[in-house]
Amino acid sequence: MNAKLHRHGILPLLAFLTTLLFLAVTATPGQAHWADMSAAEMVVEPSTVQITLTYPTGLTPFADTNQDDQLSPDEVRASKQPLTTFLENAIRLRNQNNQAGVLQVSPQLEAALPPTVRAAPNTHSTIRLTYAWKQPLQALKIHYNLFLPGVPTANCLATILQNHQLRTVVFTPKNQNLTLSAGLTHLTTGGLLLTIAGAIVWGAMHSLSPGHGKTLVGAYLVGTRSTPKHAILLAATTTITHTLGIFALGLVALFASRYILPEQLYPWMNLLSGVMVIAIGLRLFIQRLSNRYSSHRQAHRHSHSHRRQPSISGELVPLPAASLPGTGNLNVNQPHWHNSDSPHHHQHSHHQQNSHHPPHHHSDHSFHDRIHHHSHDHHHPHTHLPLGPDATPVTWRNLVALGISGGLTPCPAALVLLLSCMALGQVGLGLILVLAFSLGLAGVLTGLGLLMVYAKTLFQRLPVPKRPVKLLPALSALGIVLIGVGLSAQAVMEIAGG
């Protein structure tokens, strides 16, 4: 009978213990009981860390002399030494050299709570911990192990304020460690170089995101007789404008933040930029379209033979002097100008074998029109092309204006970079980083521009249908107009939306 009772008593007990063990092992952190929670507000400073710690008073019963579940300022002061010893072990903070910070414990509240609030149940106490080091902090290792023993769901929510940035972390019995780097405030030379390199990479990567004038540069360069020099100039102008814009806006934000918010400027700058882009795009579109029509006219008016070698210059080709105005007859030895890069290509043959056409950046359309009012045979394949009304479609003015409009609206990311550095009192570093950021941007834009220029040359060498190519300049100009419309519409919406 006894044995039976014994067996009946032991089995449930074993089952109960097994269940408890199972729960202890498998339980995931759930909604912790109020009494199991702790919270720590940490502020990381150059060589100290301040922690305002709220924890269940039951964890330090030795300090709660009146056993009211609250540590009064007097109790904290009276138990300062044992509290320090206890907390030094429970919350360990070490610097980059693995040196523990010197801990000081002080009460958080000096004033007494009003009676109504005191009446509210409170099982927690709040104290202030200060960890200090002799050297500036470059890294911080936190080990947090202040939990109620045997409570797997106990946790501590820590807010960590460092360089004006807040992050939160939940320490649990399973997650007790955290490592922080000290940030930008104390940079070594290596660190500074690394930061600048980072800003360049960031600028380059950021410029790959939507906006930033890539389409604008691409659309412009693909449709013009552009050279690598033009691509570099366009990217440089965009970058310089962008950098100056950020500096200007940063200064506005710094000195005039009481009167105007920088974000209020954005839509207006966007609008200005958009209108400029539309104007440039329209101008280019009209110009390129008129080029195309004039070239069409020429294509159907003449079919002549220049007795010359095909141009290998790739640029402007002299025409025979015979076609000069007023000559009255054809004289193939007189030079006249063709542009072999123009999209208007038509083939005819020249019998003359005398020479290459010398490259020359000059054009005269009225002159060109007139020399083609004749009809004769050409016996060698040759590309001679119409020029724009101003004969220099890639004008410096166009490039600079487009570059300025592309870079006029400063990128908010770069502005944030500058303002963050200013807020940290590192104005010089901010300027350097913005410059580095803009260099990254310039790198991508230049690369893209060069790609457009070289890809276009490659494109011309390929046996592709020529007519679509002829339309490309006009289409790309139309693209610029569309970009401008998009920018302006967005700006108007922002302005209208307040």
């Binding site: 952190p29 759930g30 909604q31 109020w34 929670m37 509210a120 409170n122 709040t126 940035q165 906006g211």
Partner: protein, 468 residues
């Protein structure tokens, strides 16, 4: 002949130009438009206008003002950082301590993480220690923390000390609603609306009207709330739409409910309440994979334990059970049970009611007595129709018919239009042999929610908001 050739050539050229423009222009336009900053937000705004089944003002009108990153946590973190720095500089400024406490509280309500309540509570106490009088904000924070701990009497007691009625009245509405004192809640809501005419005030009044069973007025107040909506109130905007979704869900209009939940998610893509309610809706429709995806999404975005964890587990358990995986369901229920048991008790953020519901959903006969006792304790604190309904459910499972009948009658006396409560009343009437009464009640169920079925019954307690 030559002239004709030229004409044909010309026509061909124009044809080619036309083809090129018709192909090239759209491609260029698409490339240009899609690379514009904020393109996706603008697309969302346009698509919302074009395709949303919701009309004004239910459709969110401020898409243009939304930032690309619509997480609500980042701005709160910035606010916390700001106040912490200010307090470091000026430790004696009580009002800034109160502001910080208020921000911690918002973080707690947004994330569902209990530790934020602790921070809010302690910071509010510090503020009150520095400024014991005229410190409405700190008192309001303490009152809200008491409410989160289900200490509604303490909430009302603290709210009574708050000199600023704009701070006190919202708590009087919610605490009285939870305690089933609908008249007091109504009065407080009326005063609040008169005082503020804000979205929050109208939403609270809509909740009171819903609890009173006055559907038309409830809808009218929800509408007013959205008419006075302002840009930037993201959490309120999302919450009001989620509550409207709940309102329609409870009445069987699942499509409209879904539209509102999805609109809430467009405003705040990580809104846990909207996601959990969507999961409940999909579960009710038998779309288990979709429901599971929503639960997974809520669980994934939590860095630490939250009050939503047990609800997610219960929902997942229901999915497993519906799919015939009883073992899987039992495992999930056991996990949820562990979490709920750790959080139940005095001064806790957990719900006895949730634990009781889990025990009843699971259907183990040995759990019924505990469910009854849990609910008997809970109704000492909360007496809203939903809580009374759960108590009646526990009593029904315990076959204590008379008590069940009297409790469900108390719930129905509030006037709330709830298919689940009428269904419970019908079940009790049927069990006690009142066939005619049962039929009348079943008709009421169909009148309120024509689609109420077994799947709906199983998903009943998996929603968030409107007293759930």
């Amino acid at each position: 002949m030559k002239y004709n050739d030229i004409n044909i050539d010309k026509a061909n050229k124009w044809k080619r130009l036309g083809i090129l423009v018709s192909i090239g222009l759209p491609i260029i336009s698409i490339a240009l438009i899609t690379t514009q900053p904020n393109f996706w937000l603008q697309l969302e705004a346009v698509s919302s206008r074009a395709f949303s089944k919701l009309e004004e003002p239910y459709r969110y009108p401020f898409y243009q003002s939304l930032a690309g990153n619509r997480t609500l946590i980042a701005p709160l973190q910035q606010e916390i950082a700001f106040y912490q720095e200010r307090i470091r500089q000026y430790p004696d400024r009580a009002l800034e301590q109160a502001d910080l406490a208020s921000t911690y509280l918002r973080m707690a309500r947004l994330t569902g993480e209990g530790s934020w309540y602790l921070l809010a509570d302690q910071t509010a106490r510090q503020s009150l220690a520095l400024l014991p009088i005229d410190n409405s904000e700190a008192l309001a924070v303490l009152a809200r923390v008491a409410e989160a701990n289900h200490d509604f009497n303490k909430t009302l007691q603290l709210a009574a000390q708050i000199p600023n009625p704009k701070e006190a009245l919202p708590m009087q509405v919610t605490a009285n609603l939870a305690m089933g004192r609908l008249e007091q809640a109504d009065q407080a809501a009326e005063q609040l609306v008169d005082l503020t005419l804000s979205m929050h005030a109208f939403t609270l009044r809509a909740l009171v009207k819903t609890a009173q069973g006055n559907d038309q007025e409830a809808l009218q107040n929800f509408r007013y709330a959205l008419e006075v909506e302002e840009a930037g109130e993201l959490s309120h905007s999302a919450r009001t739409r989620t509550l409207l979704g709940r309102f329609y869900y409870e009445r069987g209009d699942l499509q409209r409910a879904k539209d509102f939940y999805q609109e809430a998610l467009r405003i705040a893509p990580n809104d846990a309440s909207a996601l959990l309610n969507l999961a409940q809706l999909e579960l009710r429709q038998g779309h288990y994979r979709v429901a599971e995806r929503y639960y997974h999404r809520v669980a994934q975005q939590q860095a630490s334990p939250t009050v939503f964890d047990p609800l997610i587990l219960r929902g997942q358990a229901q999915i497993k059970a519906a799919q015939g995986d009883r073992t899987g369901a039992e495992t999930l229920w056991a996990e949820a049970e562990t979490q709920l048991r750790q959080s139940v008790g005095s001064l806790s953020l957990g719900h006895r009611r949730d634990l009781a519901r889990l025990l009843l959903e699971r259907g183990h006969s040995q759990d019924i007595a505990e469910a009854v006792s849990l609910m008997a304790a809970e109704v000492q604190l909360r007496r809203d129709a939903d809580t009374l309904g759960t108590y009646a459910w526990a009593l029904t499972e315990a076959k204590r018919w008379q008590e069940a009948q009297s409790i469900i009658q108390m719930a129905l006396d509030s006037g709330v239009r709830s298919a689940k409560l009428w269904h419970q009343a019908a079940t009790i009437a049927q069990a006690t042999g009142n066939k005619a009464e049962a039929n009348t009640y079943f008709q009421k169920v169909r009148a309120i929610d024509p689609n109420f079925n077994e799947k709906a019954r199983r998903a009943i307690h998996l929603g968030v908001g409107l007293g759930s």
